[in-house]
């Protein structure tokens, strides 16, 4: 299994796509520096600083990671199916299920790398632009540095479940359609659909797009435990249904290209 994970990660880290995405992330952060006053409206009252900047970036761009996860998931299944490289791996003495698991672990690893990169790069960009500052400020609330870091870590950790569930949905769609365009298209529809449903408050939390935008920031806006559990239940349902569907699909799929 570890060899398979290495196999999957080697491919991702040797592609330009990941590094291009990191560059885009830095460009987004630099752009946020110039738009800070506009972006920070209602987010912090005390003026910008490097300590608060990662929270702002994460808060204003939660779907950025999700989009890359969708591209990665579509690439690792549908694009490999189309190009014939998935077939190449399946001609080796490995099980299809192990290959699926390696792809999921690889997706999770890359997601963590991107989240960590986002934190570090936004600390650096924010500090260069505004200086480090003496407090982490979120809205009217002022945190010490350690409390600010703790809050950021909570947000990062809570970003993982919805992004993982989202990636799993895209993997399932990629296995069903074998089409990279359809897989990424479905992902974009799920993201775009979510804001359109914001008016339906009874239903909006059932959509993965809503959870991508809301779940990581529950400690910021709504610390109530029942909302956290409710969100987690929705996310785990998506995760388990799409995982089960993916297992069934990869086991029975005929490789025709």
């Amino acid at each position: 299994m570890s060899k398979l994970i290495h196999f999957e990660l080697f491919k991702v880290f040797r592609q330009k796509k990941l590094y291009l995405f990191m560059l885009i992330q830095i460009a987004v952060e630099i752009s946020a520096v110039f738009q800070y006053e506009w972006d920070a409206s209602g987010f912090t009252d005390t003026g910008p600083n490097g300590q608060s900047f990662p929270l702002l970036i994460l808060h204003n761009g939660p779907l950025f990671i999700a989009i890359f996860v969708a591209i990665l998931a579509a690439d690792s299944i549908a694009e490999e199916y189309r190009s014939g490289t998935l077939k190449k791996a399946l001609l080796c003495p490995i099980s299809r299920l192990d290959l699926l698991h390696a792809k999921i672990v690889s997706m999770f690893t890359v997601m963590m790398v991107l989240l960590i990169f986002l934190v570090f790069s936004s600390y650096v960009v924010g500090t260069i632009a505004f200086g480090w500052g003496d407090r982490t400020a979120v809205g009217e609330v002022i945190y010490s540095f350690s409390e600010g870091v703790q809050l950021l870590m909570h947000m990062i950790l809570l970003s993982v479940p919805p992004n993982l569930a989202f990636g799993m949905i895209v993997i399932f769609v990629a296995l069903v359609t074998s089409n990279p365009g359809a897989s990424i298209g479905t992902a974009l529809v799920l993201i775009v659909l979510s804001p359109l449903l914001e008016g339906i408050s009874q239903l909006e939390h059932l959509f993965i797009g809503y959870q991508l935008r809301a779940f990581p920031f529950l400690p910021l806006h709504d610390p109530a435990a029942h909302n956290l559990l409710g969100g987690l239940t929705v996310i785990l349902t998506y995760l388990s249904v799409s995982y089960t569907g993916s297992v069934m699909m990869i086991r029975k799929k005929d490789i025709l290209t």
């Binding site: 491919k11 490289t85 025709l256």
Partner: protein
């Protein structure tokens, strides 16, 4: 040729919707055989090869490789096989060496030294560090054979190995196959619609038409089976009733 059966296919059947792609196919390949698998486009050759390599699930029938049942002992069975199914597929952004190193990782006991060895056998050592995206089709085909040799297989399955190659490329691939069979005792299953090639390098052949096996045997016997000795091309047209598009 050896008597030990290396590949045994029994009653293999696959349908796509209402179309029967492969119909109760039986094949036996012994150790040392170079087995030509002939048929027109769409006759079921590639579907058969995909079922033999586990890429497609058959509706009925079974495949045994080296005595291992493909369905229930997949890892043991496929460990004996190297294959190129349709076109050789590689990661274009990686070098030839990295592509093979990556694949070597998926086998339990393939070393880095073996990667160098198969590159040498395929005549690609000098281009090992070049990205595969810059390779010609002939070079990709040779790299495909290098990849198929990685795990020191007993059986190599090649699906239309000379497709798209120029005459020089075809000659090189055929020479490589004959050399590997002679020097390393590897058996081959080669699907093709290039009858002259099969006649030149194969000791056994089978002809498939509309998913059904219509002839099988030693190439020499097949050609001598009529009133007078024929070429494989003449034999093929005779048994396919003139439907053997080339």
């Amino acid at each position: 040729m050896g008597n030990q059966v290396l590949l045994e296919v029994q009653g293999l059947t696959k349908t796509f919707g209402s179309r029967v792609a492969v119909d109760r196919l039986n094949i036996r390949i012994a150790e040392g055989d170079i087995y030509g698998f002939l048929g027109t486009n769409g006759s079921g050759k590639t579907t058969t090869i995909r079922m033999i390599t586990g890429l497609i699930h058959p509706d009925a029938g079974e495949v045994r490789i080296g005595g291992f049942h493909l369905k229930s002992q997949f890892k043991s069975a496929i460990s004996l096989v190297g294959a190129i199914v349709e076109n050789p597929a590689f990661y274009g952004y990686l070098s030839a060496y990295d592509n093979l190193k990556l694949m070597a990782n998926l086998y339990p006991s393939v070393t880095r030294k073996r990667v160098d060895e198969v590159l040498e056998i395929a005549g690609l050592s000098e281009r090992a560090k070049d990205k595969v995206a810059s390779f010609s089709l002939g070079m990709k085909q040779r790299l495909g054979i290098a990849g198929a040799l990685l795990n020191q297989p007993k059986l190599i399955i090649l699906d239309e190995p000379t497709n798209g190659l120029d005459p020089q490329g075809m000659k090189e691939i055929k020479e490589l196959i004959v050399q590997l069979a002679a020097e390393q005792g590897i058996s081959f299953l080669i699907s093709s619609h290039l009858l002259h090639d099969v006649e030149q390098i194969c000791n056994k052949a089978a002809v498939i038409r509309k998913g059904k096996l219509i002839a099988e045997g030693e190439v020499k016997q097949l050609l001598a089976s009529g009133k007078e000795t024929r070429t494989l091309e003449q034999f093929f047209f005779d048994i396919t009733e003139g439907d053997g598009r080339l």
